[in-house]
């Protein structure tokens, strides 16, 4: 079904062209098929009337007059009595014609001698002046000259009212010439556009090949539209054949580079073959060799057609591999369309089909250029889009990298600061341990009875010792609060307990340690930790000071609603102290640090 669809699409491109061909092939009213012809140089001058032979038009010299360069046709027509103007209409001649009525020249299609004006694709209409006509039967003579011997052609002429024939001629001229010129100009514009793309973007070679093949095709078609050629016929024929050949070469390169086949050697070989072929044909043409015509037309054009078949096959393979690629489908339809039209034309060139009809490949060019142009433009746009997306991605990555570098710089700064702090802290601790701490311990030792200081009374001794111990305790609190705590209070509380435990044991105070992990607390600076520890320590020392033993319960946890954590020291049944601390999660709610401290201490702030 898919193949059928593709073939149908190609056939659809042929439909309008077939329509045009039928329009052109429509016979004009009053077309005459029976006539007489002679190959005598000027039948007017000689009396050799016997050389006239009957002929059926259209007359293709390749069959009826090979080797002849000029043919005269004659046919009778009757001029009615009416006042309407008459005209002679020649739908197709190769290459030029001079028209006589009753022996009187009424018009020519241009130059009748080498290089002959080229009217193969140009309808000719000659109004007949009234004075050239006689009443009754008149004679029309048409002198046809070929560009090369044996290449002449004469379609059935029509003699009739000018008013009737003029629209026919105008219609044929529009199709054969105006439309053709338009297609050619359109192609050149597109070629210029793609050539510009290629000039700016050499990497995508198919833009260049596209432009070259389009130009080569246009050059080949000049043969159909140029009437007065500036060079000899043989040179012109050579140019046309060479242009067609190069079109084949460029088209092969276009398709292979488009479908991603990169074969520089094959490309170079093709170029060499093109150059060699062109030069060989030029030599044959210049030397006037009889081989030129068959080689230029038959061999060369067949090779060009072979090239188009090759590229068609390349596209076919590609299509089989990527059946869903819209581009390849379009290219396939275009190639099928062009190959079909070229084949049709080739049949006529080779004499396998009657002449005089519409030369169809140029009209196929419209399809080809629109199709290929769309594909190339699509690629161009998608490449642009990709480039833009890539640039955006790149920008984003640069942004990300910048952010990352900034973040890692901040991290390094943070680490460095932490390291400096830690070193400084270590130094202070060492100094305190070896200096102040040791001094305090010495003092403690010296006030012991065993130290032998007899002058101290027991009360004084106890007071000094309590004071020194308090100093040591507080120093320890300071040190513990310096420990990096990362928002955790429990380790600091644990440290406090481990320090007090021996004294609690000695005083016979049991501790119920009912702690649970606390979520991170807000703004737990060393200072805040120290204040918290002091309050809790005071609660403990108060219990110790009472000297009654008993049980102290320490609880930590989160409040109902879990917006704050609490630390509770309970002596017996009464809460000695309860601290409420905001959680880091709700720090923004404006909770103060270590709330409840102000109300802390003995006496309790029960829930």
């Amino acid at each position: 079904v898919r193949w059928l669809t593709l073939f149908a699409a190609a056939a659809a491109t042929w439909l309008p062209i077939v329509g045009l061909a039928r329009l052109v092939a429509q016979e004009a009213p009053g077309a005459v098929h029976q006539a007489e012809r002679t190959t005598v140089a000027d039948p007017r001058a000689s009396a050799a009337a016997a050389s006239w032979r009957a002929v059926t038009l259209p007359d293709d010299w390749r069959e009826t007059a090979p080797g002849v360069g000029e043919v005269w046709y004659r046919l009778p027509f009757s001029a009615g009595a009416s006042e309407e103007r008459l005209a002679v209409y020649l739908p197709a001649v190769a290459m030029n014609a001079a028209v006589y009525v009753n022996g009187r020249l009424i018009g020519t299609g241009g130059r009748m001698t080498e290089p002959v004006a080229r009217n193969a694709n140009r309808p000719l209409l000659f109004p007949i002046p009234a004075r050239a006509l006689t009443a009754g039967t008149n004679e029309l003579r048409v002198r046809v000259v070929a560009d090369r011997t044996g290449n002449g052609f004469m379609a059935a002429p029509a003699v009739g009212a000018l008013d009737v024939l003029e629209p026919v001629e105008r219609r044929a001229t529009f199709v054969r010439r105006t439309l053709l010129w338009s297609v050619m100009v359109f192609r050149l514009v597109v070629a210029l556009f793609t050539a510009t793309i290629f000039a700016l973007w050499r990497r995508e070679r198919y833009y260049g090949w596209f432009a070259l093949s389009a130009v080569a095709w246009v050059l080949a078609e000049l043969n159909l539209v140029v009437v007065d050629i500036p060079v000899s016929v043989i040179a012109w024929t050579w140019g046309t054949a060479v242009a067609i050949g190069w079109w084949g070469i460029f088209a092969v390169c276009l398709v292979s580079s488009f479908i991603g086949l990169v074969r520089p050697r094959a490309e170079r070989a093709l170029m060499c073959a093109g150059v060699v072929g062109s030069v060989a044909l030029a030599i044959l043409a210049a030397s006037g060799s009889a081989l030129f015509d068959p080689l230029a037309v038959n061999l060369w054009l067949t090779v060009a057609f072979g090239a188009s078949c090759y590229l068609f096959r390349g596209v076919l393979t590609r299509l089989r591999d990527h059946p869903d690629a819209i581009e390849v489908n379009v290219v396939f339809v275009v190639a099928l369309s062009v190959v079909g039209l070229v084949l049709w034309d080739l049949l006529m060139q080779l004499g396998l089909r009657p002449r005089g009809g519409l030369t169809v490949p140029p009209y196929g060019a419209f399809v080809a250029v629109v199709g290929m142009g769309w594909v190339l433009l699509r690629r161009f746009v998608s490449a642009l889009r990709e480039a833009r997306a890539l640039a955006a991605t790149l920008e984003e990555r640069v942004r990300d990298e910048t952010a990352e570098v900034e973040a890692s710089y901040r991290r390094i700064l943070g680490t460095e600061r932490a390291r400096v702090l830690s070193e400084e802290r270590e130094r202070i601790l060492r100094d305190m341990d070896e200096g102040l701490g040791s001094q305090l311990v010495s003092t403690l030792v010296l006030t012991e009875p065993a130290a032998g200081i007899e002058a101290l009374r027991p009360a004084e001794r106890a007071e000094i010792q309590a004071s020194v111990r308090a100093a040591l305790d507080d120093l320890r609190l300071v040190i513990d609060s310096l420990d990096p705590i990362d928002g955790e209070l429990l380790p600091a509380l644990a440290m406090l307990r481990s320090r007090l435990q021996p004294r609690l044991d000695a005083a016979g105070v049991a501790v119920e340690w009912r702690v649970e992990d606390l979520p991170p607390l807000a703004d737990l600076t060393p200072h805040a930790v120290l204040r918290t520890l002091r309050v809790v320590q005071r609660a403990f020392t108060d219990v110790l000071a009472r000297g009654r033993g008993g049980v102290v319960r320490v609880r930590t946890g989160t409040d109902a609603g879990a917006r704050a954590a609490f630390v509770e020291v309970v002596d017996g049944a009464a809460a000695v102290v309860r601290l409420v601390l905001p959680l880091a999660e709700y720090a923004d709610a404006g909770a103060s640090h270590v709330r409840g401290i102000a109300a802390g201490g003995a006496g309790g702030v029960g829930p």
């Binding site: 341990d433 070896e434 701490g437 311990v441 010495s442 065993a450 040190i479 420990d483 380790p491």
Partner: protein, 221 residues
């Protein structure tokens, strides 16, 4: 028959030294080998005899007690080293633990506390504070540097139980309470702690070698 254990005391503060010496001498199962006031004096003593217990202050006038601990351990001695410190802060103690010390004792502790700590050490237990436990947990969190190409001793990680013990210590539970929570004896808990200290020593040695290798000081054979 009472087995006596020899003790070498290294402390630069005269009052503290005298007091600690007095406390140790009072014990019948402890024998004070000597009381040194500096690294130099301690080394002279150690050159003669290795004690069962080395009680060492960290801040000595001519060096750090950590060096003494390392030297003794390097001689492969069975000596148990214990650090004397005022604050028992983990910064100080951990450095000594890494050198091979098996615990610490607070300078201002009561006599009974000091003797108890020495006995605990001799019985295979080790004291520890929540701050030190926390430090150890952090220390063992990362992967250990393994000795290259199979050579050297295996660098141990913490067992599940050791990990549990440390976590409970960080929360402030005593050995007794941890024992109850885990269904083991308090003594087993202290043994775990001592094992952890041993692992710390091996680990810090491996890390030192690893760092030296990284810096190109030592060549891997």
């Amino acid at each position: 028959v009472t087995v006596t254990h020899s003790v070498l005391l290294v402390e630069d503060d005269a009052a503290t030294r005298t007091r600690l010496a007095r406390v140790i001498e009072r014990e019948t199962d402890l024998r004070l080998l000597g009381a040194a006031a500096s690294c130099r004096e301690a080394r002279a003593q150690l050159a003669e005899t290795l004690p069962d217990v080395l009680l060492v202050d960290l801040g000595l006038p001519d060096g750090s007690g950590v060096e003494l601990v390392r030297e003794v351990k390097a001689r492969g001695a069975a000596t148990e080293a214990m650090v004397i410190t005022v604050f028992g802060d983990e910064q100080h103690v951990v450095a000594a633990l890494e050198a091979g010390a098996a615990g610490y004792v607070l300078k201002d502790g009561a006599d009974a506390y000091i003797i108890e700590s020495i006995h605990a050490l001799l019985n295979g237990g080790s004291p520890i504070s929540p701050a030190i436990a926390r430090h150890l947990l952090r220390r063992f969190r990362g992967p250990a540097p393994q000795p290259a190409s199979g050579g050297g001793e295996e660098v141990p990680g913490l067992t599940e139980r050791e990990h549990q013990v440390l976590e409970l210590l960080v929360k402030g539970f005593t050995f007794q309470e941890i024992g109850e929570l885990l269904g083991i004896s308090a003594h087993t808990v202290t043994t775990h702690v001592k094992h952890i200290y041993g692992k710390l020593e091996v680990r810090s040695r491996a890390e030192a070698v690893y760092e030296a290798l990284q810096l190109g000081i030592v060549k891997s054979s």
